[in-house]
């Protein structure tokens, strides 16, 4: 008989304890956001697709088209092309395509980059209607990001400009080679004289 009442009262107490938990949650502030209208800041550790860093000083990307990222990529998703433009010391990327649909977000490309030109983006809205929607042209994306924060947009070199730059560089190379040959030819007889 005592056990019976103990069980009833114990059960009743447990019900009240459960209700106390839910009412406490009832008055707590809500934690979800109204998604399309409100968005939350992603954590600094979040790994979206890799993207080109906008250099804080020059406001353009730092990619030198060294092809390291394309070589280390385990799924070979990255295509980089670059040209050396007249008056510049290093090559500059003219095309940077990332086929993100197969990307495993391993992050090797960001780690291998000699100029630290890549970072993880905070983008999580990756849905598209076609497979091709997942192919990211990073130079276009860079322009969009620059426009969004109000920086001057870096123009993408056109094919004609690339061809001109390449021709000029080839000419410069040829001239340099000729000059070197001449110098060699000059040096050779001098050596013979010494003997």
């Amino acid at each position: 008989m005592i056990d019976y009442f103990k069980e009833v009262l114990g059960g009743f107490y447990s019900l009240l304890a459960g209700m106390a938990v839910t009412i406490r949650y009832f008055v707590k502030p809500i934690v979800t956001v109204q998604y399309p209208r409100q968005k939350i800041e992603m954590s600094p550790r979040y790994r979206g697709y890799p993207q080109l860093i906008i250099d804080p000083e020059t406001h353009v990307h730092r990619c030198i088209a060294c092809d390291m990222c394309a070589r280390i990529c385990p799924s070979q998703l990255i295509t980089v092309e670059g040209t050396k433009f007249p008056g510049e010391k290093q090559k500059r990327a003219t095309k940077y395509i990332h086929e993100h649909q197969y990307c495993s977000l391993c992050g090797l490309c960001t780690e291998v980059c000699p100029t630290d030109a890549l970072e993880y983006s905070k983008e999580y809205r990756l849905a598209g209607f076609r497979r091709e929607d997942a192919v990211i042209d990073h130079l276009v994306l860079l322009q969009q990001r620059q426009y969004a924060v109000g920086l001057p947009v870096t123009p993408i070199p056109t094919e004609a400009e690339i061809a001109a730059a390449m021709a000029e560089e080839a000419a410069a190379k040829e001239a340099k080679a000729k000059a070197a040959e001449k110098a060699k030819a000059k040096e050779a007889p001098a050596e013979e004289v010494k003997k």
């Binding site: 459960g18 839910t22 009832f26 809500i30 934690v31």
Partner: protein, 324 residues
């Protein structure tokens, strides 16, 4: 109004006005309760609930109702057609009839019958018949299982419910709802009969088929229980009846235990509705706190705990009344 009094007599005019009022109340109440349930459940799970349609999603339910009206009324091939068609209507009738005797305030009552409480309890049992009709005629195993469970559940909660109500009636000496409320002018019966109040709330939760006693519907086990095969407005009628039934059970709780229309400053109707919606909030609170009981657990609980306690309560009440 005068024209109606002349042609129908005072009682007739009250009936017509009351019927229109009750129909409006049933619709508005269901719309409000569905919104309230969604809000209560959402906030207990730390989310905002419907926010898009209207102020804080206030007219979301109206949008849902319009959608339901636009849906096709599907009648599966081998159902028992007349019964299948009749069940949603039958579940709605007792619910509507119960409003006949509910005293919203001292004067706001359609018909002050002297068997009021018996009438409500008798009619509310009819809902089980309709659930059985719906489940059986659907020709669907889940629906039949839901219907069977509903009948078994009825055996479990109906007896303690009646015995609990009996102890209140012993104290008042009348079946008339207005008399019961009038007797609580100074002291609410919830203070004199706390055990009876708890037992009544438990039985009312079972009667309205709500969690933790929603075993006839048991959406995780039986698809949707007895209304699995119903769609569109027929389903909406079951839904409407469930929420109206909740209102009636809470109204009886307010009348029997919480002093009906009595309260300071505000008019009686407002006090009555506050009490009703408080009890409804309590039921929603239960639903989002407790997991569903198994069907044998409910029967064990009812026969081993609810009925002995209800009987003990009734005996003690009778003893105290006799010795006083």
């Amino acid at each position: 109004m005068n024209f109606m009094v002349q042609t129908l007599g005072t009682a007739g005019a009250t009936m017509v006005v009351g019927l229109i009022g009750v129909m409006a109340l049933v619709a508005v109440n269901a719309l409000f309760l569905i919104w309230m349930e969604r809000k209560v459940s959402a906030h207990m799970q730390l989310r905002p609930g419907p926010m898009e349609v209207g102020w804080h999603g206030a007219i979301q339910t109206i949008a849902d109702a319009i959608k339901l009206m636009g849906k096709e009324l599907i009648t599966p091939e081998e159902v028992d057609r007349p019964i299948f068609w009749l069940a949603p209507i039958v579940i709605f009738l007792p619910v509507l009839l119960s409003f006949l005797v509910i005293p919203f305030s001292a004067s706001w009552i359609i018909r002050d019958m002297n068997v009021g409480i018996v009438l409500i309890l008798a009619f509310s049992t009819l809902a089980v018949l309709s659930i059985l009709m719906a489940g059986w005629s659907s020709n669907n195993k889940y629906a039949v299982l839901g219907a069977i469970r509903s009948v078994a559940q009825n055996v479990a909660y109906e007896i303690p419910l009646l015995i609990t109500v009996m102890s209140i009636i012993l104290m008042v000496g009348s079946f008339k709802l207005t008399d019961i409320v009038a007797a609580q002018e100074r002291l609410w019966f919830v203070l004199l009969q706390p055990v009876a109040f708890i037992l009544y709330i438990i039985c009312a939760t079972a009667e309205t088929n709500r969690a933790p006693f929603d075993i006839p519907e048991a959406e995780s086990e039986l698809v949707a229980g007895f209304h699995t095969e119903y769609s569109g407005m027929r389903f909406a009628l079951f839904f409407l009846a469930e929420y109206t039934n909740m209102f009636i059970c809470s109204a009886i709780a307010a009348v029997l235990f919480l002093g009906g229309w009595h309260g300071p400053i505000l008019p009686g109707v407002v006090w009555f509705l506050i009490k009703v919606y408080f009890v409804i909030f309590l039921m929603m609170w239960f639903r989002w706190t407790f997991p569903r009981t198994r069907f044998d657990q409910l029967i064990t609980f009812a026969w081993k705990i609810l009925i002995p306690l209800a009987f003990a309560n009734l005996l003690i009440t009778a003893l105290v009344l006799k010795l006083r």
